[in-house]
Amino acid sequence: MKFKSVTVDPHVAEPSVLKHFPYYSLSSQSPKFSDYRQGKRHLFVAPKKGELFHICASLDTRYICCSTHVISHISNCPFECTYCFLQNYLTDTTLTVVADTEAIMREICYKTALQPWRLFRIGTWELGDSLAVEPLNKFAVDLVRRFRDLDNCLLKLRTKGDAVEPLLDVEHGGKTVVSWTVNPPEIIKREEIGTAGLEKRIQAMKKVAGAGYPVGLHFDPMIMFSGWEAAYKRLVEAIFSAIDPEDVIWISIGSLRFNPEMKKKIENNYPSSRITAQEMILGDDNKFRYPRPLREEMYRLLLSFLEEVGADQCFTYLCMERWNVWERVFGRCPSSIGHLDYLMAQTVYERFPQSVFQKPQKAFYMALTY
């Protein structure tokens, strides 16, 4: 995809970034668009202002959260998923990338050094896709190189695309996880506009697994539609006929959720989408979800499909779900958010020892407060 315009802030600290753009204009102001979809076609390269490294904004102590950390250096996304929360979130809709890897890394190093015993999982996908298009994946390459030497950090790239070529020859040292959000082709076609098709995503997974990267899978958001059961079974089979469960570091599962304002936005922006027309309940966290018994049924069924293909050895967790759902789906539940953080570090230590520098100490994680 080509951008309609590229604007570079003259205060960008790394002039080398400019070589990625044959044409650009200089301005310290990003172009303004009222429609967030318009903003997806215009790139603004910005300097780092303020802090970009923080814990995932979805963390809520009512759920058992994975407490991943994020670098919010990408804002907006060239893809157009009907369920994307960005349509109700962004005030500045121009696709913006902070092109100052040095400053970002300084912030990460400083903050992660404060808890040297902890394995920080750090994503770049909070407000956009990590690898959607050029030149985002070039920025990702810079980060991959820098994370190789960070002892207690794992970089998590997450995408719905297939632009992984720039990553393949990079020395990553096992310190970067490349992850995909996956859904059946029926959903990709209708609800994940502009993203790579399932087959392309799977091919890209094979490539990064071949290059030694741990792969992450996110069955999130699972979406109900007529025939969803068979569709998710085919999805799991398609993925694991191409990649080895040994290469998959973790699998997250979640279901469609959005707040009431988002619901209106979706119905307004995508009137032909039916995702908001299913039976959904507004919970005390002000989010619509499928009723809990239906979600549990979805999760259990997906787990059974994963078991059938031998992927039950991968660490599997739920995203934004309460402890009772964990118990009913897995028959067990981490005792706290810190405990889940520990379990994830432990699974990395056991299954991908090159990705972690020391055995995680449970007591430290259990003492974490949120």
Binding site: E279, G283, P291, N324
Partner: protein
Amino acid sequence: MEQVSIANSKIHVINPGHIDLGLDFSYVLDLIGLWNTTRLFDSLEMSGIVCPLVAVDTDLSTRKGSLKLIDGFKRLEWARQKDLEKIPVATVHMTNMDLLVFFLSKYAPMLKSCVSKALFLRFLLKVGANRQAVVDKAMKSLGLQAHKGLLEKYLRIAQLPERFLAFCHKKDFSLKRCLNFTYQPRALLERIMDLEGQISLSASLLQEVCDSISEIIRRKEIDVEEFFQLDEIKGIIDSDLECSYKTGLLRQAIRRLRYPAVTRIQKELCDIEKQYLASLPFKVKWDETLENRKLIITASIKQIDEFSRLRASFSSPEAKEGIKRLLSYF
């Protein structure tokens, strides 16, 4: 046309049929029930038209030879009913801004509801008032914030079906409530109005029913009329039941269609409660969204000896079994 000049206006005596009604807002006032003509018509029967009607000669009067009436719409209506051949009409020249100020002074003080304000703002734009002037002057006169975005919201509301607008005005629905209805299918809002009088339509019920029906028709991929032909809906609407009872039944039926899984499980939970807990001296409540595993048990006592009985009831086999079964759903 006979003509007499007085100061900067001219008084014509003309045929009522030659007057242009393009600047008529009174039909809106009729629609929302703000205009009661009974007393005016009684007075006209007694005295005839005493004051001349007022028509405007502005750049809005584009049709050559036509006079656009701005004051006296009901008197004109009466004159036409009486087949009068001639009525007095004063014509004045006004700029667009003069006209805006005139309309504001004439109508703004009587417009209190969100709907009446929405219709008035749309009227001003329709008759050619400058958009910025409407934001700056009209919105302020109506007690609203002078903001373009707010104007757009009011204009959205003005697009709702007429009968529905009249209903919203009658119930004095808020801006937020009215705006919510703008997201509903038009055909649904029109069809719901057919039920007025048959069911008790409060603001919250109307919102709930519209939200639910609109989701059901999207999910089932049927149209509004097909929804109302569903057996479980048609049976209730066509029944001769009393209004509030019918409302309750309809609400339940719509809820079952919208939340089939949740209503099924709620029924199972209620059945457990009836079977095991109904005879015990405490009440058990659970999270109706089914999200949280938490039972709330309440009891009230007046005497200390009741406390012993209450404590014993908690330990009864029925209580344990009932609570165990309820918790197993969460």
